[in-house]
Amino acid sequence: MRSIINRIPGVLFVCTLFLAASCTPGSCFEETTADVKASFYLSSTGKPTAPDSLTLYGIGKDTTRYNKASRVQPALIPLDASAESCSFVIRINGVNDTISFRYSTFVHLISKECGYTYYHNLDDVLSTKHIIDTIEIKLRTITILNEPNIFIYY
């Protein structure tokens, strides 16, 4: 018993270190933006095929998300959390189309280190059909998980 009592200060010291370490603020190493993950498929073969050239920008925005990017698979399409819909001009291999998303938005806590982000529930996806054949919704909930949400056949 005496030996146990003699070890109390050491144990208290180790516990204090443990406590101090547990209170040290951490850094955020997680993805914090919930984008629509769009995978491209060739409608003629049905096989996943990234476009040779992809340009994407939001209507009303003066900056591009992708600018003549090659071999993008999947494309990450950000939604506007302050609105219930948003539209993009998408140029696949030099041919323009417009793609529109309707969705609802809700707040999600990622972690103490990363804070909050917005998740979305996808209601509908519409597009013109110059090069796009069809758009198939695979997963309506837009999160930070790396799972495809829509398939774009072109």
Binding site: M1, I4, I5, I8, V11, L12, C15, T16, F18, L19, S22, C23, P25, T32, T33, D35, G58, K61, T63, R65, P78, L79, D80, A81, S82, C86, F106, V107, H108, L109, K112, G115, Y116, T117, Y118, Y119
Partner: protein
């Protein structure tokens, strides 16, 4: 004649020594205790970790106290309560959580009665915790391709609950005054809010993950209210094997006799 007197003298010495030995053995037998008095106590204690962290400027106030009452030398009933006030802010959000918590359960002492003697405790506490708290996010910002979005989450009153295992140690430093520490390993049962905006801090529980851990150092005042006598389990000395058994065991006898008569090791 001299041989006869020498024989008688030796016989007398043998009888005297045998008698003395038997007397000493009898005394030893009487000195071994077969029971011990254990004072049962009611304890009131406070955790000093919470105030220490508060003074260190961590923006976390956690004030906690408890009362426990011995049922017997092994089991004590435990009730605890406390208040927690937590604030956190970083570059993209601010958060607060404050409220009361209540814990109830049992403390199990694993020390033998002759070791604990009512003064030492080493064991584990098993508790159920209930927390009532208000949490909110006064502001947060999020930035993506479309720009920066600022918003807030209104404060919300919630209930949550959890279970806790608290292995630890306590020793009576002065008469009726104990110090001790314990680890707290907790499992969240229900966070009180929907999973997308679960609380970052849970009064009595800590960080709002599915499990949490902490350390408590506590001071307690003990009030003895009853004394009980507890029997001490005596170890049965192993009987030496019969000669017949030894002959039957044959060649293995030597190796077994090396440790065969050692008393069993006891946990202390």
């Amino acid at each position: 004649m001299s041989r006869t007197s020498l024989f008688i003298t030796n016989l007398l010495l043998f009888i005297l020594l045998s008698a003395a030995c038997s007397v000493v053995q009898g005394q030893n037998r009487r000195e071994i205790q077969d029971s011990v008095d254990i004072p049962l106590k009611i304890r009131a204690g406070i955790d000093v970790t919470g105030p220490a962290i508060w003074f260190a400027g961590k923006n976390i106030l956690n004030a906690e106290g408890y009362i426990s009452a011995d049922i017997n030398e092994k089991i004590a009933l435990f009730v605890g309560t406390g208040y927690s006030d937590y604030k956190y802010s970083q570059y993209n959000y601010e958060y607060f959580s404050r409220g009361f918590f209540f814990k109830a359960g049992v403390d199990l002492n694993i020390l033998q009665p002759e070791v604990s003697t009512g003064r030492y405790w080493a064991g584990v506490g098993i508790r159920y915790g209930l927390s009532s708290f208000t949490s909110g996010t006064p502001s947060f910002t999020h930035e993506n391709y479309w720009g920066i979005t600022s918003s807030s989450l209104e404060s919300d009153k919630s209930w949550g609950h959890y279970v806790e295992l608290s292995p630890g140690f306590r020793a009576e430093l002065f008469k009726n005054f104990s110090i001790g520490w314990s680890l707290s390993l907790r499992k969240l049962l229900y966070p009180g809010t929907r999973s997308d905006i679960r609380p970052l801090w849970f009064p009595g529980y800590g960080s709002g993950g599915s499990v949490s851990a902490g350390v408590c150092y506590y001071l307690s005042w003990n009030i003895p209210y009853k004394k009980i006598r507890v029997a001490i389990k005596q170890e049965e000395p192993e009987e030496p094997p019969d000669e017949e058994d030894i002959q039957n065991q044959g060649i293995n006898t030597n190796s077994q006799s090396l440790g065969g008569n050692r008393p069993a090791t006891r946990f202390r």
